[in-house]
Protein backbone atom coordinates (compact mmCIF):
# COMPACT_ATOMS: atom_id res chain seq x y z
CA UNK A 1 0.00 0.00 0.00
CA UNK A 2 1.20 3.52 -0.79
CA UNK A 3 1.12 5.61 2.34
CA UNK A 4 1.12 9.40 2.60
CA UNK A 5 0.88 10.15 -1.10
CA UNK A 6 -1.25 13.21 -0.27
CA UNK A 7 -2.73 12.82 -3.76
CA UNK A 8 -6.20 13.66 -2.47
CA UNK A 9 -5.07 16.66 -0.46
CA UNK A 10 -6.63 19.94 -1.61
CA UNK A 11 -3.37 21.59 -0.60
CA UNK A 12 -0.01 20.70 -2.22
CA UNK A 13 2.08 18.95 0.43
CA UNK A 14 5.86 19.19 0.07
CA UNK A 15 7.39 15.92 -1.11
CA UNK A 16 9.84 15.75 1.77
CA UNK A 17 6.96 15.75 4.28
CA UNK A 18 5.32 12.75 2.65
CA UNK A 19 8.68 10.99 2.43
CA UNK A 20 9.39 11.52 6.14
CA UNK A 21 5.95 10.24 7.09
CA UNK A 22 6.39 7.14 4.92
CA UNK A 23 9.79 6.44 6.44
CA UNK A 24 8.39 6.65 9.97
CA UNK A 25 5.56 4.28 8.99
CA UNK A 26 8.19 1.79 7.77
CA UNK A 27 10.10 2.07 11.05
CA UNK A 28 6.91 1.86 13.12
CA UNK A 29 5.93 -1.48 11.59
CA UNK A 30 9.18 -3.24 12.44
CA UNK A 31 10.52 -4.43 15.79
CA UNK A 32 12.14 -1.77 17.94
CA UNK A 33 14.56 -1.99 20.83
CA UNK A 34 11.94 -2.92 23.46
CA UNK A 35 8.68 -3.66 21.63
CA UNK A 36 7.79 -5.93 18.70
CA UNK A 37 6.38 -4.54 15.48
CA UNK A 38 2.90 -5.66 16.51
CA UNK A 39 3.27 -3.94 19.86
CA UNK A 40 4.59 -0.77 18.27
CA UNK A 41 1.62 -0.57 15.90
CA UNK A 42 -0.67 -1.32 18.86
CA UNK A 43 0.91 1.62 20.74
CA UNK A 44 0.07 3.84 17.77
CA UNK A 45 -3.51 2.56 17.66
CA UNK A 46 -3.85 3.15 21.39
CA UNK A 47 -2.56 6.72 21.00
CA UNK A 48 -5.31 7.37 18.49
CA UNK A 49 -7.89 5.83 20.82
CA UNK A 50 -6.83 8.22 23.60
CA UNK A 51 -8.29 11.11 21.60
CA UNK A 52 -11.79 9.88 22.34
CA UNK A 53 -11.22 8.10 25.67
CA UNK A 54 -13.98 9.09 28.10
CA UNK A 55 -11.87 8.24 31.11
CA UNK A 56 -9.02 10.48 29.89
CA UNK A 57 -11.51 13.35 29.61
CA UNK A 58 -12.85 12.66 33.09
CA UNK A 59 -9.41 12.30 34.68
CA UNK A 60 -8.08 15.49 33.12
CA UNK A 61 -10.64 17.38 35.20
CA UNK A 62 -9.92 15.39 38.36
CA UNK A 63 -7.74 16.67 41.16
CA UNK A 64 -5.87 13.38 41.34
CA UNK A 65 -4.22 12.25 38.14
CA UNK A 66 -3.22 8.87 39.50
CA UNK A 67 -6.28 6.66 39.72
CA UNK A 68 -8.08 4.26 37.41
CA UNK A 69 -5.31 3.18 35.06
CA UNK A 70 -7.47 0.23 34.04
CA UNK A 71 -10.48 2.38 33.05
CA UNK A 72 -9.26 3.70 29.70
CA UNK A 73 -11.21 2.96 26.53
CA UNK A 74 -8.48 0.67 25.23
CA UNK A 75 -8.20 -0.88 21.78
CA UNK A 76 -5.18 -3.13 22.36
CA UNK A 77 -3.93 -6.03 24.46
CA UNK A 78 -0.97 -4.00 25.73
CA UNK A 79 -0.26 -4.10 29.50
CA UNK A 80 -2.43 -1.79 31.59
CA UNK A 81 0.49 0.42 32.59
CA UNK A 82 1.53 0.85 28.96
CA UNK A 83 -2.01 1.79 27.97
CA UNK A 84 -2.17 4.29 30.82
CA UNK A 85 1.18 5.79 29.81
CA UNK A 86 0.08 6.17 26.18
CA UNK A 87 -3.20 7.84 27.15
CA UNK A 88 -1.51 10.07 29.71
CA UNK A 89 1.14 11.30 27.26
CA UNK A 90 -1.61 12.07 24.77
CA UNK A 91 -4.09 13.80 27.06
CA UNK A 92 -2.60 14.79 30.43
CA UNK A 93 1.14 15.00 29.95
CA UNK A 94 1.86 17.93 32.18
CA UNK A 95 0.92 15.94 35.29
CA UNK A 96 3.54 13.24 34.64
CA UNK A 97 5.92 12.95 37.59
CA UNK A 98 9.17 11.22 38.38
CA UNK A 99 7.46 9.05 40.99
CA UNK A 100 4.92 7.80 38.43
CA UNK A 101 7.70 6.88 35.99
CA UNK A 102 9.61 5.14 38.81
CA UNK A 103 6.53 3.26 39.97
CA UNK A 104 5.91 2.05 36.43
CA UNK A 105 9.53 0.93 36.14
CA UNK A 106 9.20 -1.12 39.33
CA UNK A 107 6.04 -2.73 38.00
CA UNK A 108 6.92 -3.84 34.50
CA UNK A 109 7.03 -0.75 32.29
CA UNK A 110 10.80 -0.32 32.13
CA UNK A 111 12.32 3.08 31.46
CA UNK A 112 13.65 2.05 28.02
CA UNK A 113 10.24 0.59 27.21
CA UNK A 114 8.59 3.81 28.36
CA UNK A 115 10.91 5.96 26.25
CA UNK A 116 10.31 3.90 23.12
CA UNK A 117 6.57 4.00 23.77
CA UNK A 118 6.67 7.77 24.23
CA UNK A 119 8.72 8.16 21.06
CA UNK A 120 6.06 6.29 19.08
CA UNK A 121 3.22 8.29 20.62
CA UNK A 122 4.75 11.66 19.87
CA UNK A 123 5.89 10.75 16.37
CA UNK A 124 2.44 9.48 15.51
CA UNK A 125 0.92 12.57 17.07
CA UNK A 126 2.96 14.94 14.93
CA UNK A 127 1.93 13.09 11.77
CA UNK A 128 -1.74 12.79 12.71
CA UNK A 129 -1.84 16.42 13.79
CA UNK A 130 -0.40 17.50 10.45
CA UNK A 131 -3.21 15.69 8.67
CA UNK A 132 -5.83 16.99 11.08
CA UNK A 133 -4.54 20.56 10.72
CA UNK A 134 -5.16 20.29 6.98
CA UNK A 135 -8.53 18.60 7.38
CA UNK A 136 -7.20 15.29 6.02
CA UNK A 137 -8.08 11.83 7.40
CA UNK A 138 -5.55 9.88 9.44
CA UNK A 139 -3.44 7.41 7.45
CA UNK A 140 -4.16 3.72 7.91
CA UNK A 141 -1.62 2.18 10.30
CA UNK A 142 0.99 -0.11 8.73
CA UNK A 143 0.95 -3.89 8.86
CA UNK A 144 3.30 -5.06 11.66
CA UNK A 145 6.45 -6.84 10.57
CA UNK A 146 7.88 -9.89 12.35
CA UNK A 147 11.00 -9.88 14.47
CA UNK A 148 12.17 -9.52 18.04
CA UNK A 149 13.23 -6.34 19.88
CA UNK A 150 17.00 -5.88 20.03
CA UNK A 151 17.06 -4.70 23.69
CA UNK A 152 19.86 -2.32 22.73
CA UNK A 153 21.06 0.26 25.23
CA UNK A 154 23.56 3.03 24.48
CA UNK A 155 26.87 2.34 26.27
CA UNK A 156 27.15 5.80 27.83
CA UNK A 157 24.20 7.03 29.89
CA UNK A 158 23.72 9.42 32.77
CA UNK A 159 20.89 10.22 35.16
CA UNK A 160 21.77 13.88 35.70
CA UNK A 161 18.41 15.28 34.63
CA UNK A 162 14.82 14.34 33.80
CA UNK A 163 12.95 11.17 34.73
CA UNK A 164 14.94 8.65 32.65
CA UNK A 165 18.60 7.97 31.82
CA UNK A 166 19.89 9.94 28.85
CA UNK A 167 23.06 10.12 26.78
CA UNK A 168 25.10 12.96 28.31
CA UNK A 169 26.27 15.95 26.33
CA UNK A 170 29.50 14.79 24.71
CA UNK A 171 28.50 11.17 25.19
CA UNK A 172 27.06 10.55 21.74
CA UNK A 173 29.83 8.59 20.06
CA UNK A 174 30.27 5.33 18.17
CA UNK A 175 26.89 4.10 16.96
CA UNK A 176 25.29 7.19 18.48
CA UNK A 177 27.63 9.73 16.87
CA UNK A 178 24.85 11.06 14.66
CA UNK A 179 22.42 11.85 17.46
CA UNK A 180 23.55 15.28 18.60
CA UNK A 181 25.56 16.29 15.53
CA UNK A 182 25.17 19.95 14.67
CA UNK A 183 23.95 20.78 18.17
CA UNK A 184 25.17 21.24 21.73
CA UNK A 185 23.01 18.35 22.90
CA UNK A 186 20.06 20.29 24.27
CA UNK A 187 17.86 18.49 26.77
CA UNK A 188 15.04 18.19 24.26
CA UNK A 189 17.40 16.15 22.07
CA UNK A 190 18.73 14.15 24.99
CA UNK A 191 15.21 13.39 26.24
CA UNK A 192 14.60 10.27 24.10
CA UNK A 193 18.25 9.24 23.73
CA UNK A 194 17.89 6.16 25.95
CA UNK A 195 16.35 4.68 22.79
CA UNK A 196 18.46 6.21 20.01
CA UNK A 197 16.05 5.26 17.23
CA UNK A 198 13.28 7.18 18.99
CA UNK A 199 15.47 10.29 18.75
CA UNK A 200 16.22 9.50 15.11
CA UNK A 201 12.47 9.38 14.44
CA UNK A 202 12.14 12.75 16.23
CA UNK A 203 14.81 14.28 13.99
CA UNK A 204 13.39 12.74 10.81
CA UNK A 205 9.97 14.29 11.36
CA UNK A 206 11.21 17.61 12.72
CA UNK A 207 13.41 18.10 9.66
CA UNK A 208 10.39 17.90 7.36
CA UNK A 209 7.71 19.55 9.47
CA UNK A 210 9.84 22.20 11.20
CA UNK A 211 13.60 22.38 10.81
CA UNK A 212 16.61 20.09 10.87
CA UNK A 213 19.10 20.54 13.71
CA UNK A 214 21.43 22.28 11.28
CA UNK A 215 18.55 24.36 9.90
CA UNK A 216 17.77 25.74 13.35
CA UNK A 217 20.86 27.92 13.09
CA UNK A 218 19.19 29.81 10.23
CA UNK A 219 17.21 32.52 11.99
CA UNK A 220 15.95 34.18 8.82
CA UNK A 221 14.24 31.44 6.85
CA UNK A 222 14.82 28.57 4.45
CA UNK A 223 14.29 28.82 0.70
CA UNK A 224 12.14 25.68 0.60
CA UNK A 225 9.63 27.01 3.14
CA UNK A 226 6.70 29.36 2.52
CA UNK A 227 6.98 30.93 5.98
CA UNK A 228 10.07 32.57 7.41
CA UNK A 229 11.66 31.70 10.72
CA UNK A 230 9.84 34.32 12.77
CA UNK A 231 6.51 33.12 11.39
CA UNK A 232 7.49 29.56 12.27
CA UNK A 233 8.35 30.60 15.81
CA UNK A 234 5.05 32.41 16.28
CA UNK A 235 3.20 29.22 15.35
CA UNK A 236 5.51 27.11 17.53
CA UNK A 237 5.23 29.51 20.44
CA UNK A 238 1.46 29.82 20.34
CA UNK A 239 0.99 26.03 20.21
CA UNK A 240 3.47 25.60 23.06
CA UNK A 241 1.90 28.28 25.24
CA UNK A 242 -1.57 26.85 24.67
CA UNK A 243 -0.23 23.47 25.79
CA UNK A 244 1.40 25.09 28.84
CA UNK A 245 4.87 24.09 27.70
CA UNK A 246 7.52 25.65 29.90
CA UNK A 247 10.41 24.17 27.96
Amino acid sequence: MDYFTYRDSPFPVRADIGAAHREFWRRLAGPGNWWTGAERVAIAAEARAARTCEYCRERKQALSAYTGAERHTAVSELPTRAIDAIHRIMTDQNRITRSWVEDNAENGLTKPGYVELAGIVVALLSIDEFNRALGLPFEQLPEPQPGEPTRYLPPILSEDTGFVPMIPRGGASGDEADLFSGSRGANVLRALSLVPNALRDWKLLASAQYLSIEGMANLVGQDNRAIDRAQMEVVAGRVSAYNECFY
Binding site: D128, G135, Q209, Y210, L219, V220, E233
Partner: protein, 119 residues
Protein backbone atom coordinates in the same frame (compact mmCIF):
# COMPACT_ATOMS: atom_id res chain seq x y z
CA UNK B 1 13.72 31.82 19.16
CA UNK B 2 11.09 34.34 18.06
CA UNK B 3 12.91 37.19 19.71
CA UNK B 4 16.26 36.15 18.27
CA UNK B 5 14.80 35.76 14.80
CA UNK B 6 13.10 39.16 15.08
CA UNK B 7 16.35 40.78 16.16
CA UNK B 8 18.23 39.07 13.34
CA UNK B 9 15.76 40.38 10.77
CA UNK B 10 15.40 43.78 12.49
CA UNK B 11 11.70 43.46 13.13
CA UNK B 12 9.72 44.60 16.12
CA UNK B 13 7.48 41.70 17.15
CA UNK B 14 5.46 41.72 20.36
CA UNK B 15 6.15 38.49 22.22
CA UNK B 16 2.65 38.61 23.71
CA UNK B 17 1.59 37.02 20.42
CA UNK B 18 2.70 33.80 22.04
CA UNK B 19 0.21 34.13 24.89
CA UNK B 20 -2.57 35.22 22.55
CA UNK B 21 -2.71 38.58 24.31
CA UNK B 22 -2.25 40.44 21.02
CA UNK B 23 -3.01 39.23 17.52
CA UNK B 24 -1.40 41.81 15.29
CA UNK B 25 2.28 42.40 14.64
CA UNK B 26 3.13 44.97 12.00
CA UNK B 27 6.53 43.35 11.48
CA UNK B 28 5.14 39.90 10.83
CA UNK B 29 3.07 39.00 7.78
CA UNK B 30 -0.13 37.01 8.52
CA UNK B 31 0.49 37.21 12.28
CA UNK B 32 -3.19 37.18 13.21
CA UNK B 33 -4.06 34.29 10.92
CA UNK B 34 -1.00 32.25 11.92
CA UNK B 35 -1.64 32.62 15.65
CA UNK B 36 -5.34 31.83 15.23
CA UNK B 37 -4.47 28.72 13.24
CA UNK B 38 -1.84 27.63 15.78
CA UNK B 39 -4.28 28.08 18.65
CA UNK B 40 -6.99 26.18 16.79
CA UNK B 41 -4.67 23.22 16.18
CA UNK B 42 -3.60 23.14 19.83
CA UNK B 43 -7.17 23.41 21.08
CA UNK B 44 -8.18 20.21 19.23
CA UNK B 45 -11.49 21.93 18.53
CA UNK B 46 -12.60 21.18 14.98
CA UNK B 47 -14.99 24.06 14.36
CA UNK B 48 -12.41 26.73 15.15
CA UNK B 49 -9.76 24.78 13.23
CA UNK B 50 -11.90 24.65 10.09
CA UNK B 51 -12.45 28.41 10.25
CA UNK B 52 -8.81 29.22 11.01
CA UNK B 53 -7.59 26.96 8.21
CA UNK B 54 -9.88 28.64 5.69
CA UNK B 55 -8.86 32.10 6.83
CA UNK B 56 -5.14 31.38 6.67
CA UNK B 57 -5.42 29.85 3.22
CA UNK B 58 -7.51 32.78 2.01
CA UNK B 59 -5.04 35.44 3.03
CA UNK B 60 -1.72 33.61 2.69
CA UNK B 61 -2.23 30.71 0.29
CA UNK B 62 -1.96 26.96 0.45
CA UNK B 63 1.83 26.76 0.74
CA UNK B 64 1.82 28.91 3.88
CA UNK B 65 -1.01 26.83 5.32
CA UNK B 66 0.87 23.57 4.73
CA UNK B 67 4.08 24.82 6.29
CA UNK B 68 2.21 26.29 9.26
CA UNK B 69 0.45 22.94 9.72
CA UNK B 70 3.81 21.20 9.78
CA UNK B 71 5.19 23.48 12.48
CA UNK B 72 2.03 23.38 14.59
CA UNK B 73 1.90 19.59 14.43
CA UNK B 74 5.57 19.34 15.30
CA UNK B 75 5.08 21.41 18.44
CA UNK B 76 2.02 19.46 19.51
CA UNK B 77 4.51 16.69 20.23
CA UNK B 78 7.37 18.75 21.68
CA UNK B 79 5.50 19.59 24.88
CA UNK B 80 4.71 15.92 25.36
CA UNK B 81 8.35 14.90 24.98
CA UNK B 82 9.46 17.54 27.46
CA UNK B 83 6.82 16.70 30.05
CA UNK B 84 6.93 12.92 29.64
CA UNK B 85 10.70 12.89 30.15
CA UNK B 86 10.74 15.66 32.77
CA UNK B 87 13.49 17.69 31.17
CA UNK B 88 14.42 21.13 32.51
CA UNK B 89 15.26 24.11 30.32
CA UNK B 90 18.91 24.21 29.25
CA UNK B 91 19.51 27.86 29.90
CA UNK B 92 18.19 28.51 33.39
CA UNK B 93 20.82 31.22 33.89
CA UNK B 94 20.41 32.95 30.54
CA UNK B 95 19.33 36.51 31.31
CA UNK B 96 17.41 37.14 28.09
CA UNK B 97 15.58 33.81 28.30
CA UNK B 98 14.64 34.44 31.91
CA UNK B 99 13.39 37.90 31.08
CA UNK B 100 11.11 36.37 28.44
CA UNK B 101 9.88 33.68 30.84
CA UNK B 102 9.00 36.32 33.40
CA UNK B 103 7.42 38.64 30.85
CA UNK B 104 5.21 35.88 29.49
CA UNK B 105 4.56 34.51 32.99
CA UNK B 106 5.62 31.01 31.94
CA UNK B 107 6.22 29.98 35.55
CA UNK B 108 2.46 29.59 35.85
CA UNK B 109 2.81 26.34 33.92
CA UNK B 110 2.99 23.16 35.98
CA UNK B 111 5.90 21.84 33.93
CA UNK B 112 8.09 24.72 35.15
CA UNK B 113 8.56 22.58 38.27
CA UNK B 114 11.05 20.51 36.25
CA UNK B 115 13.34 23.54 35.89
CA UNK B 116 15.31 25.61 38.37
CA UNK B 117 14.11 29.20 38.60
CA UNK B 118 16.91 31.74 38.40
CA UNK B 119 17.07 34.10 41.36
Amino acid sequence: MLRVSAMQTERDIDLELINGEVSVAPGLKYAAELTAFAEAVASMEETSLTAARAQLEAVAGAAVLVDAAGVAANFQRMVRIADAMGIPVDDADNEMQNEIREKLDLYRFRSSENSRRAT
